[in-house]
C-alpha cells in the first residue's frame, strides 16, 4: 500500500465518526430550535384564541370546529393553568403517511363550560431537515476527501521529491560501474539524515567492493607468480639431456598438474568475479558467431572422436558479456565432446532465445542435487582434465545474465538448454 493511500485511509477512518457525531449534534441542535419556535408559536396562537373565545358567543361556530390543527372539545376535566406541549405523529391522507406535529393541549373554561383545547402545528420540515443535514454533511465529506487526496498528492510530489530522487539513485546503483551516487542535501531535515546515511553507506560499500576486487586480483597474482616460476623451472629441467624417461615423465606430469592447479585458481577467481558482478555488460553479443567459433575451434576434437555433428544455427543476439559468452559456449560444447562416446553424436541448436546442446554419453544422468555446484564431479574421472567447476561457472554466468540453464537426460542423450528470459 502506498504511503499516500495509507495516510488518506487513516484520515478518512478518523474523519468518518467525527462527521457522524457532528451531523447528529447538528440535527439535535436544529431539532430543538425548531421545536422551541413551534411551541412559542402555538402558545402565542393559544393566547390569541383565548382572547377571541372570551368575546365569542356561546353558539359560535368555532366551538364546533374540529381539524387536526384546532379542536375544542367539551370536557369535565378540571381547568389547567398551563398548556401541555408534546410531539405527536398524525396520519396524513394525501401523503398516506404519518407526519410529525407539535401539539398543545389545555383544558380551558369559558361561559362556565370546560373545554379541551388542542392545537397542532405541522413539523414536516423536520424530516427535510434531517435529509438536508445528511446531504450537506455528505457533500462536505466528499469535498474534504477530494481535497485531502489532492493535497496529499501534491504534497507527496513535492515534499517527497528528494526521497524519490534518492530512491531512484539507489535503484540504479551498480557496484561494478563504481560510480557511487551522491545523495544531495535537501531542505528537509529527515531527508538530509537519510541521505547522509546513504552517502556513508555507499562510500563504505564502494570501498569494500574495491577492496574485495583488489583482493581477488591480488590473490590471483600471488598464486600465479609462484606457479609461473615452478612452470618455468620444470620446463628448463626438461631440457636436461641426462634425464631418464621416468624422470621426464615425472616432470611432465608435475607440469601438467601445475597447469591444472593454475586453471583451478583461474576458474575460482572467475566464479568470484561473476558473483561480484564484475562483468557488467549492456550490449548484445552475437551468439551465432560465438557458437560457430567454438564449433570450428573444436572441429578437430570432434573429428578425433568421430562424432556426428548436427548443427542448426539461427541468428541470436543475447545480452551477455562476450567473455562470458565464450566461456559458456566453450564449457558446454567442451563437456559435450569430453564426455562423449567414440563415434557418438552432438546436436547443437541455436535459436533467437535458446541454445541447446545434446550429446551422447555412456555416463549416467547427472543427479539433480549439486548438478551445478562446485566440485560435484561425476563419478568417473576423465583423464584428469575435469576440475568440477565447469557447470558451476555456466550456472553462475546464466544467473548473473538473466539466462536459464536446464539439464535433461534421456538415455543416452544428455541435453543442456540455455534460454533467455525475455
Amino acid at each position: 500500500m502506498k504511503l499516500l493511500t495509507r495516510s488518506t485511509l487513516y484520515f478518512l477512518v478518523i474523519m468518518l465518526p467525527i462527521f457522524a457525531i457532528g451531523a447528529g449534534y447538528l440535527f439535535k441542535k436544529f431539532d430543538k430550535e425548531i421545536r422551541h419556535e413551534t411551541d412559542e408559536e402555538l402558545v402565542n396562537d393559544k393566547i390569541q384564541w383565548m382572547r377571541y373565545l372570551d368575546t365569542a358567543k356561546v353558539d359560535n361556530a368555532v366551538l364546533l370546529l374540529k381539524t387536526p390543527e384546532f379542536s375544542l372539545t367539551p370536557t369535565t376535566a378540571p381547568v389547567q393553568k398551563k398548556p401541555k406541549l408534546k410531539g405527536v405523529r398524525i396520519f396524513q391522507e394525501p401523503e398516506n403517511s404519518y407526519a410529525p406535529f407539535r401539539e398543545l393541549s389545555q383544558v380551558i373554561s369559558f361561559h362556565g363550560q370546560n373545554y379541551l383545547l388542542v392545537m397542532r402545528k405541522s413539523q414536516i420540515e423536520k424530516d427535510d431537515l434531517l435529509k438536508n443535514i445528511i446531504h450537506v454533511m455528505l457533500i462536505a465529506f466528499a469535498g474534504l476527501l477530494f481535497f485531502a487526496i489532492l493535497f496529499n498528492f501534491i504534497i507527496s510530489r513535492n515534499v517527497w521529491k528528494p526521497f524519490h530522487i534518492s530512491l531512484e539513485k539507489i535503484r540504479h546503483l551498480q557496484l561494478s560501474k563504481l560510480d557511487m551516487p551522491q545523495f544531495e542535501q535537501t531542505n528537509v531535515h529527515e531527508f538530509n539524515q537519510l541521505n547522509d546515511a546513504l552517502n556513508n553507506m555507499s562510500t563504505r560499500i564502494a570501498q569494500d567492493y574495491t577492496t574485495m576486487k583488489e583482493l581477488t586480483e591480488d590473490a590471483a597474482h600471488e598464486m600465479q607468480t609462484p606457479l609461473a616460476i615452478v612452470q618455468g623451472k620444470l620446463e628448463l629441467l626438461l631440457q636436461d639431456d641426462t634425464l631418464s624417461e621416468e624422470q621426464l615423465k615425472a616432470i611432465t606430469q608435475s607440469s601438467d598438474e601445475l597447469q591444472r592447479l593454475s586453471r583451478l585458481n583461474h576458474n575460482l577467481l572467475l566464479l568470484a568475479k561473476i558473483e561480484n558482478q564484475q562483468f557488467h555488460f549492456t550490449e548484445r553479443t552475437d551468439m551465432a558467431a560465438v557458437t560457430e567459433k567454438y564449433l570450428q575451434l573444436f572441429d578437430e576434437l570432434m573429428a578425433e572422436k568421430q562424432l556426428a555433428v548436427e548443427q542448426t544455427i539461427q541468428p541470436a543476439s543475447w545480452q551477455l558479456h562476450p567473455a562470458l559468452a565464450d566461456i559458456l559456449v566453450s564449457n558446454l560444447l567442451g563437456n559435450a565432446i569430453k564426455y562423449n562416446t567414440h563415434g557418438g553424436s552432438i546436436r547443437v541448436s541455436l535459436t533467437a532465445t535458446t541454445l541447446m546442446i545434446t550429446n551422447t554419453s555412456d555416463h549416467p544422468e547427472i543427479p539433480p542435487a549439486g548438478r551445478f555446484q562446485r566440485f560435484k564431479k561425476q563419478e568417473v574421472s576423465h583423464g584428469g582434465a575435469s576440475n568440477g567447476l565447469g557447470l558451476a561457472i555456466c550456472k553462475k554466468i546464466t544467473d548473473s545474465s538473466s539466462l536459464n540453464i536446464s539439464y535433461h537426460y534421456q538415455s543416452p542423450f544428455h541435453t543442456f538448454t540455455v534460454t533467455t528470459n525475455s
Binding site: 597474482h221 607468480t225 609461473a228 612452470q231 626438461l238 615423465k249 575451434l297
Partner: protein, 223 residues
Amino acid sequence: MKLLIIEDEPALRTAIQQYLERQGYVCEVAADFREAIHKVNEFEYDCIVADITLPFGSGLEVVKELKHMSSRAGIIIISAKDSLEDKLQGLELGADDYLTKPFHLSELNARINALLRRKNFDGNTSINFNEITIKPTSKTVFINERSITLTGKEYQLLLYLIANQHRVITKSALAGHLWGDSYDQAGSYDFIYTHIKNLRKKMLEAGGEDYIKTVYGAGYRFG
C-alpha cells in the same frame, strides 16, 4: 637480437633468461621499475618482456615511456592479472602482446620470435632450417624448394617447433599454443599426436629429414 626482461621475481627472471639465451638471444634483465626505466633509456633493445607489477612502479609505465621515446622495440607484457581491462589497457598503451602467468617458456619464445620477425622485416623474410624454408607472408612451406601443403594447424605447429628448436616441448604447451585457453576442454592431448604424425609424414614425403623426435614421457623435440 637483444632482449630486456623486466621481472621482479628472481627465480622466474632467471628461468626466462636461461631459456631465451639458449635460443640464441642476448638477454638483459631488470628487477624493478627504476632499473627498467634506466635501461630502456640507456640501451636499445629489439624486444622487451615486461611484468606489470613491479617494485617502484608499473610495467605499463615502462610501456608508456617506450612509446614516448618512439622506441621500435617489440613489447610483450607478462602478467598474473588476466582481467580484460588490464589486457586492453596494455595493448592500448602500445604493447604488442600480452601473456598471462603462468605460461610456457616455449610459448613466450615463440611469441618473441613472431614479434621480432614482424617488427624487423615486416614479416617479409623467410625462416630457414636446413632444407626447410617458410615464407610467413604467404604461409607457404618449402622442402628443398619444393612446396608442401600444410593445414593451418600443421603450419602453426611447424613454426612453433622451429622457434623452439632443440628444446623439449610438452604436449600441453603445444595444445595451449594451437587452441588457446579452451584446449583444456579437450580432456586429452591425443589430437596433438595426429597433427604431429601428419606433419612428419608430409615432410618426409617431400624428401625432408625427420626432425620431430618424440621424447618419451615428455613431448617432442625438433632438430
